[in-house]
């Protein structure tokens, strides 16, 4: 279809990044990952449980790139240590950086996020920060050397869609790194809107993993991201208050 998606020095075909949380089983996850067409999936780090299923074998078998995250970290210190552990565990410099500021909303802590991003960029990580839909914060993250900025559409897992499309559009307009809409997507039209606003990609988990039919929703998201991206590139018509006839008045018969 359209031109590839450049992220962290590599070109990707899919603009949809999938989270792995919330699936009922590894089988359901596999069907959804395949249906989504994704090439990048994010995983968390937790205390090991002997004999517990790990999604890594599946991710590797499908030939996908793993993006570890710092989900559940509430301080810059914890996020930095988790990123270092993820690098050791998964042999990747990539990190989806989350520094959460509040349990109820799971909104990012902007101060902790900047602090952790600065440390991790300094240590050679490719930092993909989950951030507020705030232009100035996004630009500060970009200036620190983050490889992308990932503003939220609505709180994690809320399915609230994109609460402030104007803010996302502002970030897209002013950021030079890719903007990836992360969190809040509830259904396909939300993902399409993110792309129509000019986002380079969409990262989502719950909208697929907790859907009644994750595989079907994964396919819907794939199509929505493609459709939204094409629509953005195609250039929509301006909104007008009145009708503009699509048929010329010339040649209309007198009856």
């Amino acid at each position: 279809m359209s031109e590839p998606f450049e992220l962290a020095g590599r070109a990707w075909h899919s603009r949809l990044i999938l989270g792995t949380g919330g699936f009922g089983s590894l089988e359901a996850m596999e069907r959804a990952l395949v249906a989504s067409g994704t090439e990048i999936v994010t995983v968390a780090l937790r205390r090991i449980q002997p004999g517990a299923d790990s999604p890594l074998d599946l991710i590797e078998r499908l030939g996908l790139t793993v993006l570890p995250n710092t989900a559940g970290c509430y301080t810059a210190h914890d996020a930095v240590q988790t990123a270092r552990l993820a690098r050791e565990a998964l042999a990747t410099d990539w990190i989806k950086l989350e520094v959460i500021g509040d349990e109820r909303t799971l909104l990012p802590d902007p101060i902790g996020l900047l602090e952790a991003a600065e440390t991790l960029v300094g240590e050679g990580f490719t930092v993909l920060p989950y951030t507020s839909d705030d232009l100035i914060l996004a630009r500060r993250l970009e200036a620190l050397g983050c490889a992308a900025v990932m503003p939220l559409g609505a709180p994690i897992g809320s399915g609230g869609g994109i609460r402030n499309p104007a803010n996302i559009a502002l970030i897209v307009e002013r950021a030079e790194v890719p903007v990836i809409l992360d969190a809040g997507i509830g259904t396909a039209s939300d993902a399409a809107l993110a792309m129509e606003l000019g986002c380079a990609g969409v990262l989502l988990a719950s909208a697929v993993s907790r859907a009644e039919d994750p595989e079907a929703m994964a396919r819907a998201m794939r199509l929505a991201v493609e459709a939204g991206h094409l629509a953005h590139a195609a250039g929509r018509i301006p909104r007008k208050p009145y009708a503009v006839a699509s048929t010329p008045p010339e040649g209309a018969p007198s009856l």
Binding site: L26, A44, R47, L56, G72, L85, A89, E98
Partner: protein
């Protein structure tokens, strides 16, 4: 001596290495996607054999899981 492994207090013989503890706990050390922190600092896999545990050591053994 007493150590804390993934939040649980355990007894371990003096002189236990990180590699020995991981094996004794039933974790598969060869498994991909595992990382270890000793007293809050990452210990690279290459140092597990030589890292000696002290009394009161806090060890976290983590793995990649579905999430995020």
């Amino acid at each position: 001596m007493k150590i804390v492994l993934n939040g649980e207090l355990r007894e371990a013989p003096t002189g236990t290495t990180l590699a020995e503890l991981i094996a004794a706990a039933g974790f598969e050390p060869e498994r991909r996607g595992i990382a270890v922190a000793l007293d809050g600092e990452v210990v690279p896999r290459s140092a597990w054999e030589t890292a000696l545990l002290a009394d009161g050591a806090r060890i976290e053994v983590l793995q990649a899981v579905a999430g995020g």
